[in-house]
Each structure stands twice: as C-alpha cells, then as structure tokens.
Amino acid sequence: MMKPFSWGVFDENPVLVSLVGLCPALAASSRVIDALVMGLALFVILVICTVISPLLDRHIPERLRIFAYTAITGAFASCIDLFLQALMPEVSESLGLFVPLLTVNALILDRILNFARTSSPDMAFWDALSMGTGFFLALAGLALIREILGSGTITLFPMGSFSGVIRIPGLFENPLRVFGLSAGAFFVLGYAKAAFDLYQGKGRRR
C-alpha cells in the first residue's frame, strides 16, 4: 500500500518529475496560502473524480468519456470556486480563473482517463491520493521558495491575532522581485526539478 502512495509523491511527482498540470502550479505559487488552497482543491477534485469515474465507465462509450469527465470535474471545480469566493474571498480573487480551470487540468484528466480505467478501484484511489499529495507538496514547496525570495514573507491563514503574514528580516526590506514574477516561477521550477532529479539519481546509484 505504501508503494502506490510514494509513487505520486516521489517517483512520479506530477510537478517535479512528470511536469503535468503546470499551469496552476506556476500561476498559484507566488504565495504559500494560494498554493495550499490550489493544491487542496486539486487534491479534492482528483480523489472524488477518481472514485466516481469507474462507476460511470460502463455507461459511457469510450469516445464520449472525456466530455463526461470534463463535465464532472467542471461541476466540482465550480463548487470549490463558489465556496472559496464565500469563505476566502481574498484567496479566491488572487487565484482568479485558475480554480475553474482545474476542469481541464491535465493531471486530473490523465489520471481519470488513463490510470483509473486500467487499474483496480483501490489502486486508482491510492494513486489519486498520492498524486494529489505529490502535487500539493510540490506546489507548497515552490510557493515557499518563491514567496520567501520574491517578497520576503510567508503568507498563511490568518488566525486570531496572527495576521497570517510572517516577515523574513533582511529579505522583506530587499526582496528579489523576479522570483515573484512569472519568470521566477520557471527559474524555481527548473532548479527544483534539477535538485529532485539529482536526489533521485543519487538514490538509484546507492
């Protein structure tokens, strides 16, 4: 049971190894809070759709499945977007169109249309859990690096007297702004992938 779970987190991490679903990964990684919410949204949609899809497979012809599953992911993405607008309006505004765009996220559609159909339901469920967790962790890591370097802050959920923003002395006054921009997202992703590949390569040699 551990193997399929570590599969999505380490061996086939969607962001750092397979480079799938990069659009929200790059767009929602300028603040930690955005990355956490986006990662969680994708995790929820992926797990729910993976559980539902085997139930529908025998009712829908293969050539129409992509449309049917797009409708399902679209419905869940819209629901999550509505709840975000109501409960976290500031985060929802910051994420903008990228939550509804999870409807056509390559990672979700790939796992439902390819993996879930050819695997047993429990295997597909564990795959969704591991891929969702891998995406969530990678996105949170990228966002942490980008926000610390690009803004000198770590933005989390505000609670009580805690405003939600941790300022990093030195970097807050003189941030390296490029890391907060789109170009910075590619820099960080590139170096993170290189580091991940290096780590995995060393692991294999051992």
Binding site: L56, I60, L64, A75, L82
Partner: protein, 190 residues
C-alpha cells in the same frame, strides 16, 4: 430505444446532476456572497465620501441600454431634495468582461472620484484600471472639461500609459460619460 438515444439520455442525466450540484453549492453560499458584495460597496462609499451622509440606494432597471448600464445611485448630502453629489453604480464593458464602477459626480456631472468594484481584465491588457492612479485622468472632467473618450484626447504621456489597453480605456471612458450624463441631465429625478 436505440443505443445512441440511450447514451444521449445518460449524458443528459449526468449534465443535469452536475448542474444541480453547482446550483446547490450556489444556494449554500449565496447569502455569504451577497454579504461580501454589500461590504465591498460600503467600503467603496467610505473611500469616495468619507464622513458624509449617504442616502438610500435607488436601484434602476437595466433598460438604459448601450454599452454600459446604470445599476442605481446613492444621493450624498444632508438634503433629500438637492443632494450635494451622487455616487452612480454602473456596469460597462471591458476587453475581458464587465467593468463594475462606482462614480462620484457633482449634480453638474463633474467626476469627483471613481472606484473599480470588479474587473476581469488581464495584466498588461487593462488590469491597470484597478489602480487609483489610472482614474486620475478622469477626475475633474465631465462638466467644464470633457471626459477624454479617445486616447488622442489625452496628453502624450498619459496616452502612452494606456497603450495596449485601448478597449478597456474606451470602456471606462464611455461608462464614466454615461454616469456624468445621467446626473447632469437629471434623469435620476424622473
């Protein structure tokens, strides 16, 4: 029933379930969303007319037509009969979607302040409209000075600043002109 029709029915059923799911989610959060809209409107009023008495909102039907529609207005000031100024809420058309504006005007139609309620413009293609600085070029126009409706009506440096977002600029300018004309022509008194 043939196979195609059965599949069609199943897909239609699936779509109905998906729509119902979204409708249920919307019903669950509707009141919270309405509260957010109201709170943002109150914030805008406080920014535009701090410490001035704001009258009751008067909603208008959206039949005013054209590219922008007036949603309603707030009279500002102590006197009910002759308010000092008005805040008109309008919806115009930007490049990427609707532009919701709140415009503070004198009864003569001069624009005193503008705040953006909501836009869907893209960064580098009109998103700049959300910055207060963007609206400065319109302040003081609408009465003695006409509202700049084209980029050629602006001084060179301001025209350069809106380059690449002509549709958004035109959308904002036409919406502001509508607000100014609405107050100037006394249509709110009808």
């Amino acid at each position: 029933m043939n196979k195609g029709a059965a599949t069609g029915l199943k897909l239609s059923g699936l779509c109905v379930v998906c729509i119902l799911l979204v409708v249920l989610a919307h019903m669950a959060v509707r009141s919270t969303l309405e509260r957010h809209v109201l709170r943002s409107e109150i914030d805008i009023l406080n920014e535009l007319v701090p410490e001035k008495p704001v009258g009751t909102f008067r909603a208008l039907d959206r039949a005013s037509g054209g590219k922008s529609a007036i949603r309603g207005y707030y009279p500002i000031g102590v006197s009910r009969e002759s308010p000092e100024s008005y805040i008109v809420l309008l919806e115009g058309k930007g490049m990427a979607g609707p532009l919701k504006l709140a415009v503070h005007c004198t009864p003569e139609g001069e624009i005193l302040g503008v705040r953006i309620e909501k836009t869907e413009e893209y960064p580098g293609r009109g998103k700049e409209v959300e910055f207060l600085e963007y609206m400065r070029k319109f302040i003081g126009t609408g009465d003695a000075r006409p509202i700049p409706l084209r980029k050629s009506d602006l001084p060179r440096e301001e025209a350069d600043a809106v380059s690449g977002a002509t549709i958004t600029f035109r959308g904002v300018a036409q919406t502001l002109e509508k607000a100014s004309a609405f107050v100037k022509n006394g249509r709110h008194e009808r």
